[in-house]
């Protein structure tokens, strides 16, 4: 710690940071634009000017940009100095010469960083009396709206999009006062992270187009802290509602998980909540029924027939657990195929019982060597790909440090680093977007990816199993990888379930284990198919196939299916048969889907927006999402199931009145879930003054009028039995506990930039610690190797080894139901190696017929230069493709 003097008052601060973040951490309101905590400083906007003095005797000082000046001991600065104050106002005045006065119709209005800074600097009167420059806007696709006239040229958009996220199709054009930020021609922004522009841009140039379509001022939203449901990383989000619709998803800062950003699947996938194909009413054979009647009748079934339950990797711990309690341990099924279940459980056991620590994304950003096995992360776990984009900078940053240039001095650091990148090895089936950053890529069938991994592990630790008859290329590759990993300080091995290969997971585990013996800082990251796959894997239960078997063998006549479309986890014919054979099918889900279409009883479950729940991310972090709003007829699945259980007289369930009781029961019952009740605060939590945390900002408007077309008396707002939050603006205005932040706001800071105020120091943990608890940690005592090295993949004539290929838009069930995301879902195809295609006389776009897993598919061909010979890729999970268990041999019809 060093001492600095701000306006003559001494402060103890951390050295190494810049003065801007230091002042912000100390709580000063210092305006800025071009600086961003994740993007660092470039000194372009000149908004953060302060006075700096040589020593105590220097009375005049000089203006400096606080974002560009490192803290040093005994430094003397002034924020309040008149010249500095005037200059900061002057910067706004300059920006305002061209900024349109369209706040009233601007999407950003009221939550605008530029507005905040304008007020903060006190600029009021316009002296510029000439015409403003204007620009033409571009259509940037379904996610992002463009209004260039509002631009204040802070360069944050391009710095985020290009430099930070590796996007290529957004840039700055022209020069002088005519600089333009956009694409070279109108068209959809290609980056998976484009939505962050709406938060990164300090004004209304880039805004959320989906919000625009049902626009509400951001302060008029009822918001709750939530967790993204669209992959296994569990990014923290804020979800906002008005008039009964979910209207916006924004980032919710989490120091370890997602930092300041989320991906576009997470931001724009929410519209499934508002989709027409929602289940909004309890029905029996398609006819609305009274819900009490339904509960009574179904609970009768529970008493009188053989009932099984099918859980879901996209349902909360509470809901799965309630189902398990309802039907009993042996009758509980995970709702995924035997193969998927085995993969999930294997992956969890590697993290839970293996010797290597599962890393958070923040830790991945800091990794200085990365080896990816089998995962196309940009498409399966996008934010992890973003973390890796930062990790490749770690090694080159040594050079920056050597020149004593602070890492936050972003442009300087990038100029020193130039094109250099730290080690990144991408071993996948097909090309990935990370390839361009990779030291080396490796394209092969999953078997051979696994063999490469085993070979690397063996090179690192000869006691790990050996791989015989490696190809020369593979040997060289494995040597390079082993060498790079060994030479690094914080290596991380990344794999996952998406190529559906247990041997790839095992190989990854071996590499990590071997490396761990040499370097205790080794980390591992595994990704999973769905938002709560990890939670479900920890929950016990049988594979789907057994449920099918139970019905087939007549041991069952009723099935309760929880938030699960079985057609996504098993072959159509099998599911058809199962659903037909079952006497009673009860589906509890929020969205209509193929399985729910065949249900006798359909129970309207709440989505994440209408429900509370806990899910466990890929790192083993249990995180709570909170209900955003009450929706008539809709309840949390666990609430329905608890009601059923209570009515049926199932013992513990009668005493479950809210989510606390369930989490407590779960924590008590299962070792691995110990502590889960502390993921957030209990429902009786109240702020210091005894009040709740308000979900609506105190600026929320029109509450008494919003239902005036229905009734003139303002209805009593619903009470939340599950959390210490109110559904209204009533409550305490102070900063809530970190797990219960429904929105970021601080006096003078109406934009998301107010997040600075919620952190212990800028860019670090939220005050009180980042939320969520990790359920498992590596245990160094249990180090063993997997021994099953797979056989080399050998191409077979007239057959193709078909592996799944994932798509950020389309492969995940719920987001694909969102209208904006649906526009970006690809059409089905079969990807072939160029030579295979040539052999079959096929070119891009031609139709190919393949028989796979009992299905006959006719698909257009996509030709790939990098796919291995004899391997083909089929998009996973597309709404228009039926389920095929992959990888599998496909027989090509000539």
């Amino acid at each position: 710690m060093v001492t600095i003097y701000i306006d003559n008052t001494p402060y103890q601060v951390k050295p190494g940071k810049n003065l801007l973040e230091t002042c912000l951490t100390l709580g000063f309101d210092l305006p800025y634009f071009c600086w961003h905590p994740a993007l660092g400083s470039v000194g372009a906007c000149r908004q953060c000017a302060i006075k700096m003095y040589r020593d105590a005797d220097d009375k005049s000082g000089r203006l400096v940009m606080s974002c560009m000046e490192p803290v040093s001991n005994n430094q003397r600065i002034s924020i309040a100095d008149k010249t500095a104050v005037d200059f900061r106002e002057g910067v706004i005045e300059w920006l305002m010469t061209n900024h349109p006065h369209d706040c009233a119709v601007c999407d950003e209005g009221g939550a605008c960083h530029l507005q905040d800074m304008t007020v903060m600097t006190g600029h009021t009167y316009r002296r510029f009396k000439f015409k403003k420059r204007t620009h033409v806007n571009q259509d940037l696709g379904p996610f992002i709206n463009h209004e260039m006239n509002r631009c204040i040229q802070c360069y944050r958009c391009v710095r985020f999009y290009k430099d930070y996220a590796g996007g290529e199709d957004l840039d700055v054009f022209a020069s002088k006062s005519n600089v333009y930020f956009g694409r070279s021609e109108p068209g959809t922004l290609e980056s998976e992270f484009s939505g962050n522009l709406s938060e990164v841009c300090p004004t209304g140039v880039f805004t959320d187009k989906t919000l625009k379509q049902h626009y509400t001022r951001k302060w008029d939203l009822t918001m709750a802290p939530s967790i993204c449901q669209h992959c296994s990383l569990g990014c923290n989000i804020i979800a906002g509602e008005r008039y009964g619709d979910l209207r916006m998803i924004a980032n919710r800062y989490h120091g370890e998980v997602n930092g300041y950003f989320i991906c576009d699947r997470g931001r724009f996938g929410y519209e499934f909540v508002n989709a027409p194909a929602r289940v909004r009413q309890t029905t029996q054979l398609g006819q609305p029924v009274d819900e009490d009647k339904a509960i009574t009748q179904i609970s009768e079934l529970l008493k009188n027939s053989k009932v099984i339950g099918i859980g879901s990797p996209r349902a909360s711990l509470e809901s799965n657990y309630a189902l398990k309690k309802l039907v009993g341990e042996t009758n509980f099924h995970k709702g995924v195929s035997r193969q998927e279940q085995a993969l999930m459980e294997l992956a969890v056991s590697i993290l839970n019982t293996g010797p290597v620590r599962a890393l958070s994304m923040k830790e991945v950003e800091k990794a200085d060597a990365v080896f990816i096995l089998g995962e196309d992360l940009t498409n399966t776990s996008p934010m992890l790909a973003l973390a890796i984009r930062q990790s490749v900078r770690q090694q080159p940053l040594h050079e920056v440090n050597a020149l004593a240039v602070p890492e936050w001095n972003d442009a300087a650091a990038r100029e020193i680093i130039q094109q250099k990148k730290g080690p990144l090895f991408v071993a996948t089936v097909a090309e990935t977007k990370l390839d361009s950053m990779a030291t080396k890529t490796f394209r092969a069938a999953p078997q051979d990816i696994s063999r490469l991994g085993f070979a690397v592990a063996n090179l690192i630790d000869p006691s790990a199993p050996q791989v015989s008859n490696l190809h020369e290329d593979e040997r060289a590759m494995s040597e390079l990888i082993a060498k790079s990993l060994l030479a690094s300080e914080r290596p991380v091995i990344i794999s996952g379930t998406s190529c559906q290969s247990d041997s790839v997971l095992k190989a990854a585990a071996n590499v990590a284990t071997a490396l761990q013996k040499r370097n205790k800082n080794t980390g591992i990251v595994l990704t999973f198919p769905e938002s709560n796959s990890v939670g479900l894997a920890l929950m016990g239960g049988n594979p789907l196939e057994e449920a099918f078997q139970k019905v087939k063998s007549g041991n069952t006549d009723t099935v309760i299916i929880l938030e699960n479309d079985l057609y996504r986890h098993s072959q159509t014919t099998l599911v058809d048969e199962f659903l037909t054979k079952c006497k009673t099918v009860v589906v509890v889900d929020h969205s209509q889907q193929a399985t729910s279409a065949k249900a006798q009883w359909l129970i309207p479950a709440g989505t994440f927006a209408e429900a509370d729940g806990t899910i466990v991310n890929n790192e083993g972090r249990a995180q709570r999402y909170f209900q955003v709003y009450e929706k008539m007829n809709v309840k949390e699945s666990w609430r329905w199931l608890t009601n059923l259980g209570a009515t049926a007289g199932i013992t513990p369930m009668q005493s479950w009145k809210n989510i606390d009781h369930i989490t407590k029961a779960l924590a008590q019952e299962e070792e691995v879930f110990r502590g889960i009740e502390r993921v957030s605060l209990t429902s009786d939590y109240r702020m210091q003054d005894g009040q709740r945390v308000p979900r609506a900002p105190h600026r929320y408007s029109g509450r008494t009028a919003m239902l005036a077309n229905v009734t003139v008396s303002e209805p009593k707002p619903p009470e939340d039995p599950d959390s210490g939050m109110s559904f209204t603006m009533e409550g305490t205005r102070a900063m809530p506990p970190s797990s219960m932040i429904p929105f970021f706001w601080s006096p003078g800071w109406n934009s998301v930039q107010s997040v600075n105020k919620y952190q212990e120091e800028v860019g670090a943990a939220l005050r009180g610690g980042d939320p969520g608890i990790r359920l498992f940690e590596a245990s160094a005592t249990q180090s063993h190797y997997f021994n099953e090295v797979p056989e080399k993949f050998i191409a077979v004539d007239s057959k193709l080894w078909i592996v799944p290929l994932h798509h950020i838009y389309g492969s995940e069930e719920l987001s694909a139901k969102s209208a904006s995301v649906a526009k970006r879902v690809p059409l089905p195809y079969l990807m072939l190696n160029a030579e295979d295609a040539a052999k079959l006389g096929l070119k891009e776009g031609d139709a190919i017929e393949v028989a796979v897993g009992g299905d006959q598919l006719r698909l257009p061909v996509k030709v790939s230069a990098s796919l291995s010979m004899g391997v083909a890729g089929l998009p996973a999970g597309l709404p228009t493709l039926s389920f095929v268990e992959l990888p599998a041999w496909g027989l090509v019809k000539r």
Partner: protein, 154 residues
């Protein structure tokens, strides 16, 4: 479509720099030498050769005054409008050019022969006012000389 010669020249430029992108300005110059301006299509092709996106290359191209991203006439007349030429009354010369050719700055004559652009200091201030047409510099230009000069570019 870029010609083989253009591609060859661009590839040569790439060889001289540590990484492809660093040849971007050179590559744009190559195209402009051959075609007088850089069309969207050319830009895309050059970008491909340099492993750049069109955006990234266009960001560079639109920054510089002497990369033309819109079609220009066969001959580009650059009128020095900086201080020494201003003191020496370049404005008369400019206005004479405008009326003689019937166009203004940024415009091209209908026969596609001339484009007039303003340009900052041509570095021949002791011989102001100055003009540059294509590669030829004209110093101490008087109104009377204009006709004769333009004739050379018929």
């Amino acid at each position: 479509m870029l010609t083989d010669l253009e591609i060859k020249e661009i590839e040569h430029a790439i060889k001289l720099v540590p990484h492809k992108k660093a040849a971007s300005v050179e590559a744009l110059k190559v195209v402009q030498e051959h075609r007088r301006w850089v069309s969207d299509e050319s830009l895309r092709e050059v970008a491909k050769l340099l492993d750049m996106s069109p955006e990234e290359l266009d960001s560079v191209a639109t920054f510089y005054n002497m990369i033309f991203r819109r079609e220009v006439g066969k001959h580009v007349i650059l009128v020095c409008d900086s201080i020494s030429c201003w003191v020496m009354g370049y404005e008369n010369l400019r206005d004479q050019l405008f009326s003689r050719l019937g166009i203004k700055y940024g415009e091209t004559t209908s026969d596609g022969r001339f484009t007039i652009l303003p340009n900052c200091c041509l570095g021949t201030c002791d011989c102001a006012p100055a003009l540059m047409i294509d590669h030829d510099l004209y110093r101490n230009v008087t109104g009377e000389q204009l006709e004769g000069i333009l004739k050379r570019y018929e």
